[in-house]
């Protein structure tokens, strides 16, 4: 290992050592006319709605990387705690890591208090973390869950502002989905109506927004029960081929047949142990 004549130990967390180098590289690359590699985003439609007994969260399943679809079936509804789930839009890695960190923190917190965690706790933890990083963590989240005070739904923006509302949409397809919600949302819906409404809202986002596509995932959270329906609806199935170019057996006539058996004997046998610890 190389030695380094530092005077103090390094701290953990984000390291800004390469920022200047990256800025110089970006200037050089734009001078040549190329582009820096883009982070994988989830140009997305994510929605949440409060119904009579709980929350329905919905999301599409497309992850994009610039103009290319990077993942046709990614999972955007993340687990936070047994009664709280979170949909994530924005940079895929940021949403993934943020939700995992908050999930761990909530688990430690609930072990310490001995109670089921509340949605407001998860909301406050997320908003404090996102504000600390001033929007550089690009995670736009829809947080929903059921706790002792009933169902709660929050939308959390990358800079750390939050809204507590009965129905929310986020992502690039949020306008299309919100149009469906504004038309058909009613207070105290039944579970089937709420699922149909969320499915239609996500479908509106999928068909009218380039950044959203593929299937519709749903997550229904009620007291004591969570239904994670993945996929709830496959709105975009790839077409089935109607013709087949393979030749049938017997198309070519057989004139002669000659069989030669290969005699193989074991010469040497070696065993290599693998350290699987």
């Amino acid at each position: 290992m190389a030695t380094l004549s530092v005077c103090q130990t390094q701290l953990g967390g984000f390291s800004f050592e390469n920022c200047k180098r990256n800025a110089v590289l970006e200037a050089e690359v734009t001078k040549l006319g190329c582009r820096m590699p883009a982070a994988r985003k989830t140009g997305t439609t994510i929605v949440g709605v409060v119904f009579k007994d709980g929350i329905v969260l919905g999301a599409d399943t497309r992850a994009t990387e610039g103009m290319i679809v990077a993942d046709k079936n990614c999972s955007k509804i993340h687990y936070i705690s047994p009664n709280i789930y979170c949909c994530g839009a924005g940079t895929a890695a940021d949403t993934e890591m943020s939700t995992q960190i908050i999930s761990s923190n909530l688990e430690l917190h609930s072990l310490s208090t001995g109670r089921l965690p509340r949605v407001a706790t998860a909301n406050r933890m997320l908003k404090q973390m996102l504000f600390r990083y001033q929007g550089h963590i690009g995670a736009a989240l829809v947080l929903g869950g059921m706790d002792c005070n009933g169902p709660h739904l929050y939308s959390i923006y990358p800079h750390g502002s939050t809204d507590k509302l009965p129905y929310v949409t986020m992502g690039s397809g949020s306008l299309a989905a919100m149009a469906v919600f504004e038309d058909r949302y009613k207070q105290d819906m039944e579970e089937e109506d709420a699922k149909r409404l969320v499915r239609d809202a996500i479908a509106a986002g999928i068909f009218n927004d380039l950044g959203s596509g593929s299937n519709i995932d749903l997550c229904v959270i009620t007291k004591g029960r969570v239904d994670y329906l993945r996929p709830h609806d496959m709105a975009n199935k790839k077409g089935v081929r109607t013709g087949n170019y393979k030749y049938k057996r017997g198309t070519t006539g057989v004139l002669t047949k000659a069989e030669t058996k290969l005699v193989l004997e074991v010469v040497e046998e070696t065993v290599q142990t693998m350290d699987t610890s």
Binding site: C7, Q10, G12, F14, F16, C19, N105, H136
Partner: protein, 142 residues
Amino acid sequence: MNTRGLRSQLKDSVPVTGMGPQVGAYGVQDTLRSGFSSVKNELLPSHALELSEKNFQLNQDKMNFSTLRNIQGLHAPLKLQMEYRAARQIQRLPFLQSSHLALDTLKGNDESISFEDILNDPAQSEMVGEPHIMVEYKLGLM
């Protein structure tokens, strides 16, 4: 997790000074230890978050202590700081990894996970500090 966010306590926060040259014993740039100096490198941070992240823990502590002083009186932060100072002394030599268990328990860091624990773990660092130099720096002989 910060539980106190009173804006009135911000006046006690650590001022954002900028990177500053590493001055050595005679008040001049210490070229041997911190390399050649460059004004551009030192005046501007390379990332918008660099300064705020460097001082984040200090600022949080200052805010919490001043709120505690306003609520419970001067004795509360004084006692806590005395305990922190005692816990900070339970460590191995500077170039070895110490667990900071007592300090973490006092500060409540044993019940939370953040990017400090996941990214850039100093225990997994590829570089090893030079033992002699680090001990001399810690004892103030350098």
